[in-house]
Structure formats: structure tokens, C-alpha cells
Symmetry: C2
Subunit: 160 residues, 2 copies
């Protein structure tokens, strides 16, 4: 990884932690970001539950934030804000240690969304599937999130 890429990831990490203080408590770090793909991770300790695993809510947030990180790295979303509408998370295995969430959009989806944005659509929907893995690569959870890129009329209408 180039120095410039490391700097971008560090800046993105600062950015999301400033935007959402809970990510600071989670010690969330942006570890990958490029057109059509994003990845974040967090360590066990601040996210542990009573059973010594990563808490379900921390796993959810690791996956959910990808829907906010990916769009500005993928399209020109000037005038739009990403809003999360609906997320389903399936817990598949005990989540031990540092957990990474990764999402990647298919090329045809990247193209479709880009075309709708270029056409000035008021709302552009996309679905993001994220996979959460432990340091051995075992999938501990997976999500399917529905997001909308909404043209801003009134500032500040996002939970995401």
C-alpha cells in the first residue's frame, strides 16, 4: 500500500469518527476504500459482550457504515446524501478478535447508479451486501442494506 493510500485511509478514519462519536468508542478504522469497495475494522475489547465476543451492535455498525463510505468514493454525489433505509443482519458464527467488514458493488450496479445520478434522479437506490470476517477469514456475520442517495433539499435528513 502506498503512503498516499495510507494517508487517505487515516483521513477517512478521522472523518467518520468526527462525524459519529460512537465510532471513536468502537475504535473503528477505515482499512480499504476505492471505487465500488470499502472496508472497516474494529478490535475486540471496546466492542466485547458478556461472552467475550464482539457485540452484535458493533458488528451491525461495522457493516452499516460502509453504505456511507462507499458512495463518495465511487460516484460524484455532490448534492446528494446517502441514507440507510433497511438493513438485515445474519449472525453466523461467534465473532472473536478483530472483525473486518467488507462490501463490494458489482460493476453493473456501479454503472446503473452512476447513470441515475448523472440524470439527476431525486432518489437513487442501491443495495449493499457486506461480509464480516475474523482475522482467519471466517465469516461471522453478513448484511444486506438498502440505501438511498437522496437529493438534498433540506439539510440533515440522514440517520446513516
Amino acid at each position: 500500500m502506498k503512503v498516499s493510500e495510507v494517508n487517505v485511509l487515516e483521513a477517512q478514519t478521522r472523518h467518520v469518527r468526527d462525524a459519529i462519536p460512537l465510532f471513536d468508542a468502537m475504535q473503528l478504522t477505515v482499512v480499504g476504500l476505492a471505487p465500488g469497495t470499502a472496508a472497516v475494522q474494529a478490535p475486540q475489547e471496546p466492542n466485547r459482550n458478556h461472552a467475550g465476543m464482539m457485540y452484535a451492535g458493533s458488528l451491525f455498525s461495522l457493516a452499516e457504515v460502509l453504505g456511507g463510505l462507499l458512495p463518495p468514493a465511487t460516484w460524484d454525489i455532490t448534492g446528494y446524501v446517502p441514507i440507510v433505509a433497511d438493513v438485515r443482519i445474519r449472525f453466523r458464527a461467534p465473532a472473536m478478535g478483530t472483525i473486518r467488514a467488507t462490501a463490494e458493488l458489482p460493476a453493473d450496479e456501479i454503472a446503473r447508479v452512476g447513470q441515475e445520478l448523472a440524470a439527476g434522479a431525486a432518489k437513487v437506490w442501491f443495495t449493499l451486501e457486506a461480509v464480516l470476517t475474523d482475522s482467519a477469514g471466517v465469516t461471522v456475520a453478513s448484511t444486506e442494506g438498502k440505501y438511498v442517495l437522496m437529493q438534498m433539499t433540506v439539510p440533515g435528513s440522514a440517520n446513516g
Copy 2:
């Protein structure tokens, strides 16, 4: 509310915050707990997002934790641990201010789960629907969570 009820809720708040440190960062408080029903809430500030609303991940956690709080208040779950398997959350309106999550199980579900536990089933499934409301009573999000009460063989097998 009786003094004894207040003491129970304060003890439960301490209990969940000790078990899951993220709830301390969220300033999550248990505000209702009785057989078949549970409620928690959290203030805006530690859970805010960039748009000045409650972050989606905090909303998720408020709803999710009810699946851990409700069972020991509802059934004798000695020898069982509640594990979250699958949660779907729908975001319905901007979440401003203090947000409360409430879940209530129908009487026939309470009875069915109680019977399966009494019969010593290895796994007892239940579905918990939670509603998240702002201080005006407006629904800002809702969840449907699938949980399993699992008979403990190896200690510590829960993400929930």
C-alpha cells in the same frame, strides 16, 4: 413507579453496561422490564451522527439488547443463554433527541416459549419485534429480531 422498581431498573442498567461497555458509551438506560416486555433508551449526544440525528447503529443496539433483557424477566432460563441470530431494522423517520426502544411479546408466545423451556428443548426460538420512538411518540425505526435460547454446553457462545 415504586422505589423497588426503580432499583431494579438501575441494577439492570448497571448490569448491561458492565456486560457490554459500548452501552456505557451510548449512555443506554433500562427504563422498563417485566414479564413479556422490556424498554431501553439513550440520549442523542453520544449517539449522534453527522446530520444531528441518532446514528443507525445506536438505534439497532437499542432494539437488539431487548432480546437479551426480556428472557430472564419472562421465563426461568437457568441453563440457557439468549443468542441473536437475525435482525432486520427499518428506518422510518429522522431520529431526533432521546430515543426509546420497546418490545412486547404476545401472551401466546410467552406461553409457548415457557412450555418449550420447561420441556428441556435444546433450542427455543422466539421472534421479538421492537419499536423505536422519539419523545413525541413518533416511530423512527422498527426491528424484527430472531433469537434462540440455547441450552449451554460450552460457556460463552453468544454475540447478543
